[in-house]
């Protein structure tokens, strides 16, 4: 009877998680969805606290209070521009939690779980392995996003060989854990080697590919939880872990598609400089780039009836989202239609730009997906590109030898006038010049994103 109540509560919790995710299919129902998920978690935790195996509560309560407090402080204090770091860190903690729970289960052996011994050991090895790769991979991703480690791809010779050797070691140690479950040191060796592998797998991945990595590690953290579910024969862990795993895989796939690259290419391939036929920066820009002042740009906006704003990671870096939203609001009071064109990989994680614009009070229906904005971009009078580069580079359409060939882009070059706010003509992550800047209908506004937008607003108000 007791087991029935526990398992029934876990079922209810799983259903609440599923409804919670379903709530996220629309911004109107999303807050409620998140609350449903939280209720499911509360139920699962409360029911677990009645478990008969528990003989003392001090450390449980202490852990909940310490972890809860850290989580609450993080959640309240984090800047919206730093959401990718926060998510990377949380992914990592999920992975680490799986390592320890599986490690503890291995020590307890079959006293805590009804799992058959083979399932217990295989799942424990999987939890330790996936958990360690997730934890250390996420820490490296966090370091890169935070600027503690170079954002560039870090490469050294023999990297692939070393990784393959480590992978073989991991495989061997996993088999060792399965065959000798009573030898705990094998498990911790497995965790150790998988940790090194986790670091080495993420180090060679560059900054602009971070959306893929963060999404993939999100998936791993779910799979680690699912593996722990197999260790404990606990369905709520298996169900939740699979949901999160599926979510991460889908996001990874969307991100890869938005860069027209395969996952293996992102993880192992290096984006080289453009091959034969690629033009140098001088050939592309030479004498053709026109620079404008904020006042001139204000005049263009003054005459425009339809404006599209294309934000990129540079907008997040200069914290320009609030001025950009003010500019849009000002234009709208003057009868101009303003839309935002959001490229799927703009920023450092899926949906990064959307969150920033929402923070600045932009209504979500003004945020258009790439496909939507491209359908009407030729009717746009002024397209304002702020802090984006590769995602608006027309070479993706025109030059099959370019490293970004075939990547879907926002076709701002088809707008009547393009204004690009950028510090300099330096290339984006792909390392290639952007002919957009040299087009007849393009104007460059060189400077810091936030300052330039504020200057445009001031000039508009004066006119």
């Amino acid at each position: 009877m007791y087991n029935f109540i526990i398992n029934f509560s876990y079922l209810v919790a799983s259903i609440l998680f599923i409804f919670g995710l379903k709530g996220l299919t629309h911004p109107r129902t999303a807050v409620r969805g998140n609350l449903l998920g939280a209720c499911g978690m509360l139920l699962a935790v409360v029911v677990t606290l009645t478990d008969q195996h528990i003989i003392s509560y001090e450390y449980i309560i202490l852990g909940l209070v310490v972890g809860g407090a850290i989580g609450a402080v993080l959640a309240i204090r984090i800047e919206m521009t730093s959401m990718p770091e926060m998510v990377a860190l949380l992914n990592g903690f999920g992975g680490a939690a799986s390592i320890f729970v599986a490690g503890a289960a291995l020590i307890e052996g079959s006293s805590l779980t009804d799992s058959p011994i083979l399932q217990l050991t295989i799942a424990t090895a999987a939890s330790g392995l996936i958990g360690a790769v997730t934890f250390w991979g996420s820490l490296v991703a966090f370091g890169k996003l935070k600027g503690l480690i170079s954002e560039n791809a870090i490469l050294f010779s023999g990297q692939q060989v070393l990784n393959s050797l480590l992978a073989l070691m991991v495989l061997g140690l996993s088999i060792g854990v399965v065959l000798n479950p009573e030898s705990f040191s094998l498990y911790w060796m497995l965790v150790g080697v998988a940790s090194v592998l986790g670091v080495l797998l993420v180090l060679p991945i560059g900054g602009a590919d971070m959306p893929v990595v963060v999404a993939l590690l999100n998936s791993y953290s779910g799979l680690a939880a699912a593996a722990t579910g197999f260790v404990l024969s606990n369905n709520v862990l298996i169900i939740t872990g699979s949901l999160v795993g599926a979510s991460g895989i889908i996001l990874t796939h969307i991100m890869c598609k938005a860069m027209n690259r395969s996952l293996t290419n992102v993880l192992f391939g290096v984006m080289g400089p453009s091959g034969e036929g690629g033009q140098t920066a001088d050939e592309v820009y030479g004498g053709k780039v026109k620079s404008a002042s904020p006042e001139e740009v204000a005049l263009l906006f003054d005459a425009a009836r339809r404006v599209a704003i294309i934000p990129g990671y540079g907008m997040a870096v200069s914290q320009a989202q609030h001025p950009v939203a003010s500019l849009a609001a000002l234009l709208e009071t003057r009868g101009t239609t303003v839309e935002y064109g959001i490229h799927p990989v703009a920023g450092r994680m899926p949906g990064h730009m959307n969150v920033l614009m929402a923070e600045a009070d932009v209504p979500y229906d003004a945020l258009k997906d790439m496909d939507d904005i491209n359908q009407t971009i030729d009717q746009v009078d002024v397209a304002l590109v702020i802090g984006a580069n590769d995602v608006v580079n027309p070479l993706a359409r025109t030059d099959p030898s370019s490293p970004i060939a075939g990547m879907p882009i926002i076709d701002v070059d088809k707008a009547k006038i393009v204004v690009v706010i950028k510090r300099s003509l330096s290339p984006g992550f792909a390392g290639i010049p952007n002919p957009l800047f040299a087009l007849d209908n393009s104007l460059m506004l060189f400077g810091d994103g936030k300052k330039m937008v504020l200057d445009i607003i001031a000039a508009l108000k004066d006119s």
Binding site: Y10, A13, S14, F17, G20, L21, K22, L24, A30, V31, N34, M41, I54, I55, Y59, I60, G63, G67, G71, A72, L74, A75, M83, V87, L90, G94, F100, V101, A104, L112, S115, P116, Q119, N218, G222, A224, T228, G229, L232, N235, V236, L237, I239, T240, S242, L243, V244, S247, G248, I250, L251, P344, M349, P350, G351, N354, V355, A358, E359, D361
Partner: protein, 92 residues
Amino acid sequence: MEMFLMSFTVFVLAIFVGFEIITKIPPTLHTPLMSGSNAISGITLVGAIVSTGTELWVTTVLGFLSVVLASINVIGGFMVTNRMLAMFKKKT
């Protein structure tokens, strides 16, 4: 073996449910989706709690560490997701 097959069935079906729901989530909400799914993957907490409460000190230590980590995920994840979604909600 039968036990494993039952668990595996649940695993596979849950992945299908996940795919069905998550493909319908609009790109606008992808960041809250990630932080929200982080929060629910903190369900490892359930296993962590039991390990912490048992007799052996080794498992209590391991359990305690995972309770801390998983509750950071749960509380941090749900709270930050709520904070973000509230921003999407206003001005509709």
